[in-house]
């Protein structure tokens, strides 16, 4: 309940923030669509983004399942290296912290994270490339 309420607040506030930006464009017929609103909730406008994210997560697991099973066993080592590299996309969190965190401590943590995942990003993709470059067909 608490979580739901917070999520709703959050949605509401976010909407408010964006509305501010497009205020000059806004000329919605306020209040007139009461019935419509309630009904719209029905069709998804008010759905907690968590549900969508969860759906995306579940579908991505399906995709992951199929895509990994289709990897040829000969390339399982590069697979381990490249999954390593792409899991460094957590860099987006580090960038946020270093880029805009008000707290110096947070920025510091972010910096540590940034350096570590950078090792992984460059190291991971390059070592994969190095490995893959070695796989050759029989020359005729």
């Amino acid at each position: 309940m608490d979580a739901l309420q917070k999520a709703l607040d959050q949605l509401d506030q976010a909407t408010a923030a964006v509305r501010l930006a497009v205020q000059d464009l806004a000329n919605a017929p306020a209040g007139a669509e009461a019935a419509g609103n309630a009904a719209h909730a029905l069709s998804g406008g008010a759905i907690d983004p968590f549900v969508f994210r969860f759906a995306i997560f579940v579908l991505a697991i399906f995709v992951g399942y199929y895509v990994v099973w289709s990897v040829t066993p000969a390339l399982h080592t590069p697979l381990m290296a490249v999954t390593n590299a792409i899991s460094s996309v957590i860099v987006v969190g580090a960038l946020l912290a270093v880029g805009i965190a008000a707290s110096g401590l947070a920025a510091g943590f972010g910096f540590v994270a940034l350096v570590l995942v950078s090792v992984n990003i460059f190291g991971g993709f390059l070592v994969t490339q190095r490995m893959l470059a070695m796989y050759k067909k029989k020359e005729k």
Binding site: A3, A7, Q10, V18, R53, F57, A60, I61, G64, V68, W69, T72, P73, A74, L75, H76, T77, P78, L79, M80, A81, V82, T83, N84, A85, I86, S87, V89, I90, V91, V92, G93, L96, A97, V98, G99, I100, A102, A106, F109, F111, V112, A113, V115, L116, V117, S118, V119, N120, I121, F122, L126, V127, Q129, R130, M131, M134, K136, K137, E139
Partner: protein
Amino acid sequence: MTVNLASFLYLVSGILFILALRGLSHPTTSRQGNLYGMIGMGIAIATTLALATPSAGRFGLIVLGLAIGGGIGAVTARRIAMTSMPQLVAAFHSLVGFAAVMVAAAAIYAPESFGIGTAGDIHAQALVEMSLGVAIGAITFTGSVIAFLKLDGRMSGKPIMIGGRHLINIVLGVALVVLIVLLVGTESKFVFWLIVAASLVLGVLLIIPIGGADMPVVVSMLNSYSGWAAAALGFTLGNLALIITGALVGSSGAILSYIMCKGMNRSFISVILGGFGGETAAAADDGIERTVKQGSADDAAYLMMNAQKVIIVPGYGMAVAQAQHALREMADKLKANGVEVKYAIHPVAGRMPGHMNVLLAEANVPYDEVFELEDINSEFAQADVAYVIGANDVTNPSARDDKSSPIYGMPILDVDKARTCLFVKRSLGSGYAGIDNTLFYKDGTMMLLGDAKKMTEEIVKAMDH
């Protein structure tokens, strides 16, 4: 940049990561796939920067961080020996795990920057997701460090069995749940660090009882964990790229663990509970006098040059001895002499999935001469020579024939069906599973005792006579 555009770009980056894995379905498309992966990462980074618009100073800091890390990573990638891949992957995992902890810490200390509330009023949902992410991340970190140390030989591969460790683990697990509930209630930073500490300890305790032989499964499992940690943080940050990637990596690690367990005919649970491997089981001393036929490099050269079909079976010993280049030379000589040469790879040969394939590729062996177990196993019956180099467990016939063997049921390469089986290893010792190999004592077997690389080089020399 609008948030909608940014979300869309994060989605694109997630899709590119899918395509990166998809490329690995065949060597010819794999390089292209890796490129997609790099582009996806570039898009994710650029989008975040465009969205956050850091000040010039902060931007400098970011560039610095990327440069330091990127430099270290690039140099490592260039220098690392192909034989050290298992260690490298474990080390990289530990970095992702620690980074996840740091990102979560940053989010707790500056929730505004992540849009998850304000200090003292962070959304409960975000706190739950974050604690999951941080706990899994911390376990991944210490677990991977242990795996790295064991794989790199800096720590004994022997399982370290602490008394009552199951109880300790359960207590720690329960403590973690309690702490997470506390964190959601109080949002106390102290509790946060307690979660980190407990998870770090748990990571160590979970992995040390697992023997060195099972480390590849552990590495893969930790890979999976790091994926789930990323996905959890992806929920917190509402970032599609992270969620998709997390799911991909999570499935990948889980599937690879499964494939390895199947290849070893072990249950995943038995791997996790630990205690297997490392204890060098005494060679079965059943009183029966066993005779071993030993051969020289000259014998081997003669046998193979007069063969029509030779199947090479590489194993962990080839990796240790770095014998792949000499092996390739030997194969070239044979092919020049009209002998048909093929390579047979067992799914768990070596110390990680695909390990042998990478090493052979490094030595320029074309991938269309290299075959999986199912595709080549029936051909041993027609082969004149099976050249087993540094492999052991994956050829052990007791896995097929001896119901009492601990590896009974594990699929093996039927090298004993070949007319002659040449065995290159340094001793009559056992492999990683610690089980005596009855093949050594068979009639058709000739042992070539010595270092894999040296022996192969001597054979190559002998072929020139």
